[in-house]
């Protein structure tokens, strides 16, 4: 397959998704350019996981379409790797770490030695050399999430879709993981889409932040993060521009939730500064 086929924009047109009578997403449109880092931010329960499952082809939209280049995404594609929110549940507990990372390659008929080499390479890339022979439960939460990321890398996809990937690890591990993903994007030129409820994280990571709001949810804002490619946990977060962007996102989310709905605003994690 040529590179132009592999690297294509992921686009969503007029997406609606309902669970029975419960409409979760409505008339949602967005497009993600190859090589970009896009964060989709919205409060808990907004429908972020639902959107991500539609983007990955795991869930069929009620109406509307998801396309990768000119192909419809109506089943999981080889070009898209997913890292789930719940790393504990998504690693296979009976496989050693290396086998977990290499497992998707086994499905592609890659030889045993090539799988092994690739898995070790990807484990090294996420900062975990030498844990290949351990079982997942022997690693901390942050390390397990790194393994899940390594599995995504080993899959050699052009797009990495991540669902609140750093939500359940401690603050320090979280900063490290954020920087790891930024570095991987820069080194590998892959497209990264991160779904998160954390506004600071969205602004820190993204080239672009897409804000979901409303019920059913749709895109209520789409802003470019002009903070440059080189980000730094200490300095980037202290920039006046960072504060401006974060304030704008927060305002949009508050406004979007309060106007049509008199109920208490959806819970948001804005405690971190």
């Amino acid at each position: 397959m040529s590179d132009s086929d592999r690297l294509a924009p992921l686009s969503v047109t007029g997406l609606h998704k309902s669970y029975g009578h419960h409409a979760v997403l409505a008339d949602l449109n967005l497009s993600v350019e190859p090589g970009s880092f896009v964060c989709i931010v919205g409060p808990s329960g907004a429908g972020k996981t639902t959107l991500l499952r539609c983007l990955s082809g795991l869930l069929a939209p009620t109406s509307g379409s998801v396309r990768y280049g000119d192909r419809p995404v109506n089943q999981p594609l080889a070009e898209i790797a997913v890292v789930f929110q719940d790393y504990r549940g998504s690693l296979l507990p009976w496989m050693r770490v290396r086998d977990n990372v290499a497992f998707p390659l086994e499905g592609r008929g890659v030889s045993r030695s090539a799988r092994r080499a690739r898995a070790d390479e990807c484990l090294a890339a996420v900062g975990l050399p030498g844990v290949g022979d351990k079982y997942p439960w022997q690693l901390s939460g942050g390390m397990q999430q790194r393994v899940a990321i390594a599995r995504g890398l080993a899959y050699d996809a052009a797009v990495l879709l991540m669902d609140e990937p750093f939500g359940s690890v401690d603050a320090q591990a979280r900063f490290d993981l954020e920087d790891l993903v930024l570095r991987l994007r820069r080194d590998l030129g892959i497209t990264v889409i991160v779904v998160t409820h954390d506004i600071d994280e969205a602004v820190y990571l993204g080239d672009r932040v897409i804000v979901l709001g409303g019920q059913p949810a749709t895109v209520i804002d789409n802003l470019t993060v002009d903070l440059g490619q080189d980000r730094d946990q200490i300095h980037t977060r202290a920039l006046p521009r960072f504060a401006e962007l974060r304030t704008r996102v927060l305002t949009r989310i508050r406004g979007g939730a309060a106007a049509p709905d008199p109920a208490p605003p959806a819970q948001l994690d804005v405690s971190r500064t």
């Binding site: 990955s56 795991l58 999981p76 080889a78 790797a81 997913v82 789930f84 719940d86 504990r88 549940g89 998504s90 690693l91 296979l92 507990p93 009976w94 496989m95 050693r96 497992f103 998707p104 086994e106 499905g107 079982y135 997942p136 439960w137 022997q138 690693l139 901390s140 599995r151 899959y155």
Partner: protein, 278 residues
């Protein structure tokens, strides 16, 4: 049906931090277990001494022990043990070879499971021994017939446990497998089977005990050679001490098979965090 232990990942636990405390406790447990055995033997001895039963209906523990040690030197004895064991194992192996794949596949398809449920529920509650005359008629009094009856008795617990295990693949894992486009065969061998292993092992243990039981039952009811046959023979000839020696051997076989499958289980489930090793 025993509920299989669900494989769950837990937070990192200190492995083998147990140390000498548990070792002391285990030694005490062993002492109690031994005590129980001794008590039962004493009770048995007391009953035989009391003259409540004649020596030909209930021999003393000492005479049984002597006869049993004698038996260990007799080729007839080993031949009988082998006949029973072979009948049981052949039936059990076929039951596993049929029950496990069938259970795994039907377990992953809700429709297949639902449509087979009534039939399976009926068949598994069917008393196999009641079918013995039919098998005698169709297959004759052969070792193959013995294995067939064992197979029928064993296939359902294995099948049902495999089905149960296949259904309990965690949703997150199914989702991951789908997202990474794992082909079907690989999904069965590397995902469904390992995930169902704890449950399958429970079924196998159950079936292993049943297999010995049924093999001996068939030998008692027919003229097929084996432990069951020896028991009836010696009982009828008034050698009840020898008969009891064979009965004791049957118990040992059942116990040995159970321990063996527990060992196999712990080997197959090495991947589990130590919180699971009981």
């Amino acid at each position: 049906m025993t509920t299989p232990v669900q494989a769950a990942t837990t937070e990192v636990l200190e492995p083998a931090a147990a140390g000498s405390k548990t070792r002391g406790r285990r030694a005490r447990v062993h002492a109690y277990q031994l005590l129980c055995v001794v008590l039962v033997l004493l009770l048995w001895g007391a009953v035989t001494v009391s003259g409540l039963f004649t020596a030909s209906s209930l021999p003393s523990p000492a005479s049984v022990a002597t006869e049993w040690l004698h038996l260990l030197g007799a080729p007839v004895f080993w031949q009988a043990v082998w006949d029973t064991l072979r009948g049981a194992l052949v039936g059990l192996l076929f039951a596993g070879a049929v029950g496990v794949p069938l259970g795994l596949v039907t377990g992953t398809y809700a429709a297949a499971e639902l449509s087979s449920r009534i039939l399976v529920d009926f068949l598994r509650s069917f008393p196999v021994i009641a079918l013995l005359p039919v098998f005698l008629l169709v297959l004759g009094s052969t070792p193959e017939m013995k294995s067939t009856v064992v197979f029928i008795a064993c296939v359902f617990p294995i099948f049902l446990q495999a089905q149960y295990g296949a259904r309990s693949v965690p949703p997150m894992i199914s989702e991951t497998v789908r997202a990474y486009r794992i082909p079907r065969l690989l999904r069965y061998t590397k995902v469904v089977l390992p995930s169902a292993t704890p449950s399958i092992m429970t079924g196998l243990r159950l079936a292993a005990t049943t297999s010995i039981l049924v093999a001996i039952g068939v030998e008692i009811l027919t003229t097929l050679p084996g432990i069951g046959h020896e028991v009836t023979q010696h009982q009828q000839n008034g050698n009840s001490a020898v008969a009891f020696g064979y009965i004791f051997t049957a118990g040992l076989l059942g116990y040995g098979i159970n321990r063996g499958s527990m060992l196999l289980e712990s080997i197959l489930l090495r991947w589990r965090p130590p919180a699971h090793t009981v």
